[in-house]
């Protein structure tokens, strides 16, 4: 999810129409672009990941023109022949050797358009570029640049002036001290030499994918520019390059091709803005949408979504990188048609209902427990080892352990409901007594024979707490519960760190252990900051069905 800020005046002049707040809020939202903020001068819009072309104000304007019926069809972007050459060094192959280029001329930057351009680069590098890991973007003023440019590596002690700086620094210093070095340095810090672009005179143009050098920086007076997208993934490189180039072309800039020469003498010419052809069957669309559109109606809708046609084939513009399947065109037809125009159909697929037996049983138990006067609680499955084992003085079991916990509070999945209910008693020390609570909840046990290595187990816990809460009271409640489900239980002495010795028993049904009952040890109570006696029982309900 990406949030972009567009200057309203700039955007509306690109669209060619003045828009009201309700145009954004009620109309353009139905194009799939929710409005997040609206002011006199700016709008914040949420752009979904499938439409990176709308991360640019130009691309958004292009789509809006179609959606609002101001302009249809895909614009044609001409790529002129050029004599710009970039050589790729053998050393980069397989590391960061996917590189695409374009030269753009006749730029007329204004304060607004250059800000929009910067935002676009940043958003693309964050989204498709996966925070520059997959691909990053560099732009260079052409006036002082010498070709052929070279994608190669530089030693860590190579010096250059980083963008915005005044003094030369070594590449290693830039990685350590420059804010961008600290942000993106981890992507290359293990390299023996760092990836970089050098111009025809051997000057460092940029340290990849961290920062450009000062000498070729872009300003509002930049007229001609080299764009480079470099990374580890060809698809990402092409998508990003096409989206940027088409955005600039929307403002009348002229696009020139760049030849990339690989060590194998292979030459790649970029950018390639030719539309892709996609076969399209209107019956497929009509069936999925349950519409009865004629060929020309489908065409009208796709033209408004800025597609074009070659016969009956759809031409997909180079910037529409999300179109993977004819289904994606169907969605665009639906959007152009207007989601609000689809009449929801009353459900009519006849199938027979079937509740989950486990869930039904859990509900029966909940009803019995609330009938016995217990308040239901619903608590977290996530917990930590301290709470689960140490505070309850229970033996550490093998358990589901989280590899990347964000906080120390949630590092594992619970194996028992006892800590959960003790925590709830602790949280209610100042609420009117007596406390009677229960939970039917899931715990997770490691199980190497189970497909995912860990199995859900449903348990029931019920606890009481008040000035004289004790074993006989909770035992009478457990027995009442068992009568209600027709289960006969017996009790056997046992030991458990959480309970008082001699006041804890194993609950058995048909000779098998199904749970535990007893009075909680005062030390455990105090570990949880509970100041009143607690007695409880826990049952594995999967063994009671």
């Amino acid at each position: 999810m990406a949030l972009v800020t567009f200057n309203k005046k700039d955007l509306e002049s690109l669209i060619g129409k003045k828009l009201t707040e309700s145009d954004y809020k009620d109309k353009l939202i139905m194009m799939g672009v929710p409005l997040e903020r609206y002011t006199d001068t700016e709008v914040d819009l949420e752009i979904f990941p499938n439409r990176p072309d709308m991360l640019s104000v130009e691309g958004f304007a292009r789509a809006a023109q179609g959606f609002l019926g101001i302009k249809t069809k895909s614009p044609e972007y001409e790529v002129k022949r050029g004599n710009f050459v970039v050589n790729v060094d053998q050393k980069l192959l397989g590391l960061r050797g996917c590189a695409g280029f374009a030269v753009v001329k006749d730029l007329k930057f204004t304060g607004e358009s250059i800000a929009a351009f910067m935002q676009l680069q940043e958003k693309l590098a964050t989204t498709i570029g996966r925070k520059r890991k997959k691909a990053s973007i560099g732009t260079y003023d052409l006036s002082d640049l010498r070709f052929p440019v070279k994608l190669t590596t530089i030693s860590k002690i190579t010096k250059f002036i980083p963008l915005g700086g005044t003094q030369e620094q070594t590449a290693e210093q830039v990685l350590k001290t420059h804010p961008k070095g600290q942000e993106y340095g981890h992507l290359i810090e293990k390299w023996l030499e760092y990836p970089a672009y050098l111009d025809g005179r051997g000057r460092v143009m940029s340290l990849l994918p961290v920062i450009n050098s000062e000498f070729s920086k872009i300003t509002t007076s930049t007229k001609n520019m080299l764009i480079e997208v470099t990374g580890t993934d060809w698809k990402a490189v092409r998508e990003m390059l096409n989206i940027i180039v088409c955005a600039l072309a929307e403002r009348g800039a002229k696009i020139y091709e760049v030849k990339t020469v690989y060590p194998s003498e292979k030459v790649i010419r970029m950018p390639d803005l030719r539309p892709r052809k996609m076969k399209f069957d209107i019956n497929y669309a009509n069936k999925l949408l349950d519409l009865d559109l004629k060929q020309n109606e489908v065409k009208e809708r796709l033209l408004r979504m800025r597609f074009d046609f070659a016969g009956n084939d759809v031409l997909v513009p180079a910037y529409r990188t999300d179109i993977m399947h004819p289904l994606d065109l169907v969605e665009d037809i639906a959007i152009a048609h207007g989601y609000e125009k689809f009449e929801p159909r009353i459900p009519q697929i006849p199938t027979i209902a079937k509740p989950n037996e486990k869930e039904e049983f859990a509900n029966l138990l909940r009803n019995i427990m609330s009938g016995l006067g217990f308040q239901e609680i619903v608590t977290f499955i996530l917990t930590n080892e301290g709470e689960e084992f140490d505070k309850t003085k229970r033996q550490r079991l093998e358990h589901v352990e989280i590899q990347n916990p964000k906080t120390i509070d949630y590092t594992m999945a619970r194996t028992s409901l006892i800590p959960s209910i003790l925590r709830a008693f602790a949280q209610n020390q100042s609420n009117e007594m007596p406390h009677k609570m229960f939970e039917v909840g899931t715990v997770v046990h490691l199980d190497k024979y189970y497909e995912t290595g860990a199995k859900n187990i449903t348990k029931l816990i019920a606890g009481i707490s008040h000035a004289s809460a004790g074993y006989s009271e909770i035992k009478s409640m457990l027995e009442a519960f068992c009568r209600n489900i027709g289960t006969e239980v017996s009790f056997a002495e046992t030991e458990d760190g959480a309970f008082i010795e001699g006041r804890v028993a194993e609950i058995k049904a048909k000779g098998e252990k199904v749970g535990i009952i007893g009075e909680i040890h005062p030390e455990v109570l105090l570990n949880f900051n509970i100041e009143y006696p607690v007695a409880l029982f826990q049952l594995n309900i999967e063994k009671l069905k």
């Binding site: 969605e331 199938t351 308040q375 619903v378 990347n404 490691l446 497909e451 199995k455």
Partner: protein, 493 residues
């Protein structure tokens, strides 16, 4: 007229007092507590059986110094007694009486004003000589000390003396209101009548038939009573069951799945590319144990791999190299779509399946975010379903949940196309609220599982509609706070 048993006691108490008395006196005479006497004397006056007369009392009370003089005697008296032995200097008197200088100097004024001593300035400071009336005073048994004692004993004091004692800071006066109650004539007949009334209906009274000849006293039906808390289901359970009921009524089958899930079912089978941001460590809980999961048979895995790499029929796929090792990584499931997609691999259309269950996100807990919450997922697989059916199922569901106005906004999910986010309109807030995500599963999702019909799918939040219903601002009211006060008071309707 019905009388409360304590009202009867108050009347009887007043009779003992001759028909009139203060609340304190009534309490004593009737053998009840004073606040009870006050409350029921008042209720008698409301019933026209007694008249209340309000009085303001002033009660003198000894100060700390007053208490001291009451115990040790008045300082001027100590001096006078010394002077009975003859003329003395002030210095000497201080030494003999043990008074402090300030106290002794204050006494000079009192002795002079009352004419109890003659005072001169001599070589060694002030010299005092007792007068005749001073001698009488020195031997008198009655003085301010006895007055202080009286005040302590009975609260009574002459007004003139009281003023002097107040000026010397020995006594304070507290004022408070009291009332006297006077019984009216009607009370007598009322009490006779009330003798024939039953207060507590007992086993004996029912059996003996005593209730037939006597009247059962009516109660103050508005009187406050103690709180009662019985057993109760959690609002989440009530909502969950309501939702289960809706889907079951619509003919769905309910299913469930493991909380520890493979990345394969949670992501890969849903056509989420392996470098998709939602698979980041920052969003998903990966596990140290278990270390690995089993992924399904080679056929399904092979199909999924192909869908990612080069696409299914007519699809380009994501165009990257799919890695089975990443798919085996165990995680805590991030959505219950993992459950419905598992179900989809097993079913034969037509089929409708739903699941409600806990999901996990690597979020920091705050008033808007929980690291685990509950989702509702549903799918409908049938040859003849279309986008309109998707909207129809969602509209029906939300209508039954109590939301009448609904719209569908275009949205994006990697595994659906037409994707839409249903929004309901809340009149009281004047805005559209998003309540989930939905769409038709992409062929890249269904084809690898051998499903060749369209599949409608949605994922909704359980907590969101409940928060809207109760106007809750803090999502931690669920799972985290476990506040019994809220749980006991909350309406389940």
């Amino acid at each position: 007229m019905d009388l409360h048993p304590l009202e009867i006691k108050v009347i009887e108490g007043l009779k003992k007092l001759g028909g009139k008395g203060s609340a304190g006196a009534i309490a004593e005479a009737a053998g009840i507590e004073k606040p009870q006497a006050e409350r029921f004397a008042y209720s008698l006056s409301q019933k026209g059986l007694a008249v209340l007369e309000k009085r303001t009392h002033q009660t003198p009370k000894l100060t700390k110094l007053g208490e001291q003089y009451k115990k040790e005697g008045m300082p001027e008296k100590k001096i006078l007694k010394e002077l009975l032995d003859g003329e003395q200097t002030l210095e000497r008197l201080i030494g003999k009486t043990g008074l402090d200088r300030k106290e002794a100097e204050a006494c000079i004024g009192i002795l002079k004003k009352n004419g109890w001593a003659a005072i001169r300035k001599g070589d060694k400071g002030l010299e005092l000589e007792i007068t005749e009336i001073g001698k009488i005073e020195a031997n008198s048994k009655k003085d301010f000390q006895t007055e202080l004692q009286n005040i302590a004993d009975s609260g009574y004091v002459d007004e003139n003396v009281l003023n002097q004692l107040r000026k010397r800071g020995l006594v304070e006066v507290a004022s408070h209101a009291d009332f006297t109650v006077e019984l009216k004539e009607e009370a007598s007949s009322a009490i006779t009548e009330a003798q024939d009334v039953i207060h507590n209906l007992t086993h004996e009274i029912i059996k003996s038939g005593e209730w037939k000849t006597k009247k059962l006293r009516g109660y103050d039906v508005r009187a406050e009573v103690a709180n009662y808390y019985g057993g109760k289901l959690h609002p989440l359970t009530v909502a969950r069951n309501k939702i289960r009921r809706i889907f079951l009524d619509l003919g769905f089958e309910e299913t469930e799945g493991p909380l520890v899930e493979s990345s394969f079912w949670n992501f890969d089978a849903l056509f989420q590319p392996q470098d998709h941001p939602s698979r980041d460590l920052a969003d998903t809980f990966y596990l140290k144990s278990p270390k690995e999961t089993n992924i399904p048979d080679a056929k399904i895995v092979g199909n999924v791999k192909k869908a990612h790499e080069s696409g299914t029929l007519n699809s380009t796929g994501w165009g990257y190299k799919w890695n089975a090792e990443l798919a085996k990584k165990p995680i805590l499931r991030t959505h219950t779509t993992a459950v419905t997609i598992r179900a989809l691999s097993q079913i034969k259309p037509p089929a409708k399946v739903f699941s409600i269950g806990r999901v996990f996100r690597n979020e920091t807990l705050d008033f808007k975010h929980l690291p685990e919450f509950t989702q509702i997922d549903g799918i409908v697989a049938d040859e003849n379903v279309s986008f309109k059916d998707l909207l129809g199922y969602l509209k029906e569901f939300f209508y039954r949940m109590g939301f009448e106005k609904i719209r569908f906004r275009p949205a994006y999910f990697p595994y659906t196309e037409m994707s839409t986010e249903p929004e309901v309109y809340l009149e009281e807030r004047g805005e559209w609220i998003e309540l989930g995500g939905s769409g038709i599963f992409r062929p890249e999702v269904t084809e690898p599982l051998g499903i060749d019909v369209p599949v409608l799918a949605w994922g909704l939040s359980l907590e969101r509609p409940i928060m809207l219903k109760y106007g809750l601002k803090d999502i931690r009211s669920f799972y985290y706070f476990n506040d019994l006060k809220w749980l006991r008071d909350v309406s389940l309707k």
